[in-house]
């Protein structure tokens, strides 16, 4: 059975001009121990979908339809207390900017204590501190930094702390929302290496959100591609490594510069992502798609299986 099962999720933002649909019927599932990558450009709805699934998306957003099942339980009908118990014990999130996620007037220690005390109030303070030090060591941070304030740590250190916080209660699912986007590549590499090691040791599943497709190719089990609020491709990572099927995926992969081989001009996808206020008719990608046909302008494609479990939403490719 899947750990997380999102079906036809729809998320709206209430703007002064009316409701804007940021996520339009997205479905995916995640099994225990799996690493599912969600990739897309800014505004594609990937963070929105994940945070909505966790029900932590703030105003002016609301969930307009679909279902979210965690371990068979219906998340969308959970009460406030049920959500509180579910949060962090079974599903945790690592947010993009650790500096913004941490309370500027509290030390790292107080963050840990708050988190642990909210779920394990029976633990003594000494035990909680021990656990906090243990967690920091797991992410290669010296425990004496427990006394630091967020602004006193470097970006990389803060991100590690936030990862340690996420693992406090050993949740089976970790959502990582662009965790390394704000860091330089060297730090990014180190942190990811550590996370993957921890993933092997502790066995948690990861929903990894990023705009960097090439990164996911290295460690994801499965990948999903979002465009303008819709899932256009989803499947095992192997197909993506071979170049992908959907024209958008292919465009993304071709845009990654090659280190080896002969010199080539940069390839990019012409045009820019559509505004969600007035999305294109039919397939949302059609204005930028080199394979667009008449049908693409009129009818919105649904996800259909192509080969070996890979699904694509494209008239031309299916």
């Amino acid at each position: 059975m899947s750990l997380l099962r999102v079906e036809n999720l729809m998320v709206d933002y209430l703007t002064p001009e009316g409701a804007l649909r940021a996520v339009d019927g997205v479905s995916f599932e995640l099994k225990r121990g799996e690493i599912l990558g969600l990739v897309g450009e800014s505004g594609s709805g990937k963070s929105t979908a994940a945070m909505a699934a966790m029900r932590i998306l703030g105003p002016p957003a609301l969930i307009a339809g679909g279902s979210v099942l965690f371990d068979g339980r219906d998340v969308l009908t959970m009460s406030a207390e049920q959500l509180r118990r579910w949060h962090w014990r079974e599903i945790a999130i690592v947010m993009q900017s650790a500096l913004n996620a941490l309370n500027p007037v509290l030390t790292m220690q107080e963050h840990f204590l708050d988190t642990i005390a909210a779920h394990r109030p029976e633990m003594s303070k000494a035990e909680m501190l021990k656990r906090a030090a243990e967690l920091l060591k797991m992410v290669d941070i010296d425990p004496r930094h427990l006394n630091s304030y967020p602004h006193e740590l470097s970006g990389g250190m803060r991100q590690r702390v936030v990862i340690a916080l996420a693992l406090t209660l050993n949740p089976p699912l970790l959502i990582m929302d662009e965790p390394t986007t704000a860091l330089d590549v060297v730090v990014e590499r180190e942190i990811l290496k550590r996370v993957l090691q921890l993933q092997k040791e502790l066995g948690f599943a990861i929903l990894f959100i990023t705009h960097d497709l090439s990164l996911l190719l290295e460690f994801a089990t499965r990948l999903g591609v979002l465009y303008a609020g819709r899932l256009v491709a989803i499947g095992a990572v192997e197909i993506f490594r071979q170049g992908g099927v959907h024209p958008y995926t292919q465009g993304l992969l071709q845009a990654v510069p090659q280190l080896r081989g002969k010199r080539e001009a940069f390839k990019s996808i012409a045009g820019s992502p559509p505004s969600l206020k007035n999305p294109p008719s039919g397939c949302r990608f059609h204005p930028r798609c080199p394979l667009a046909e008449e049908r693409c302008r009129k009818e919105q494609p649904e996800l259909k299986k192509t080969q070996s479990g890979h699904q694509v939403a494209c008239h031309v490719r299916t």
Partner: protein
Amino acid sequence: MNPALLFRQMIANRKARAGMIIFGLFAVVSLVGPWLVQDPTAFTAVPHQPPSWDNWFGTTGQGQDVFAQTIVGTRVTLAVGCATGFLVVLLGAVVGGIAGYLGGRTDNLLSLLINVFLVMPGLPLMVVLAAWLPPGPMTILSVLVLTGWAWNARVLRAQTLSLAQRDFVLAAKVSGESTLRIVTAEILPNMLSLMTSSFIGATIYAIGAQVGLEFLGLGDISKVTWGTNLYWASNDSALLLGSWWTFVPTGVCIALLGFGLTLINFGVDEIANPQLATESRWVRKLKSRATADGSTPVVEGGVK
């Protein structure tokens, strides 16, 4: 952002519109009112009479018509209030703007000046100054501006500072635009809503402070203003004799005017910060479902 656009937005906004109507009413009264009522300084009836058909708001301790006094008093009070508001924002924009834009030593010096004035206790200083200078609206105006400009200067300086670092200003600098043009064409238009709300805030403060000073007898007590009306009411032992009508209408007018101006400011806030309006809309539509625990609400089918 230009003044015409801001004005249109203000009319469209519910709160600002309501406030402008209230202010408009008072403005009309201040302009036309004095011609439509009897002489407020004339001894017209028996003193200390409660409201009646002859004297709608009753009479003062000196037999004058309270209604006439209230209407006529609107003019000077409103005029001094608005003039103070305007001057305070002007002074604040000039000093704060120069400090924020030029930075460096100029900023340090001007900031010091602003801070020194900020820390000066307003009301005591006003009382002492008003006591030394000849009584009258001009004195009140100068005293109010002197003690009130620093607050706006600080606010406007902060905004100028943040705008001056923005990319479009740097681009203008690099492309050779003159300082004057940058300030008037790039920076000021972006501060329009802030200056509007500053002006309104300053006017509210000015009206209150003015009335306070005049109540203390530091204004020209021979002139008819809301403040002097209260001064005379107190002087003629209104409380002791129970003539509540000599001071209640004035207070209510001040409150209404102040409230109206505050409403305009609420509206301008919403215009300047659209997120406020967005969130209030969300709160209104999802009121029953917006939980205190902050989880994303689920509304099957969405909301229009």
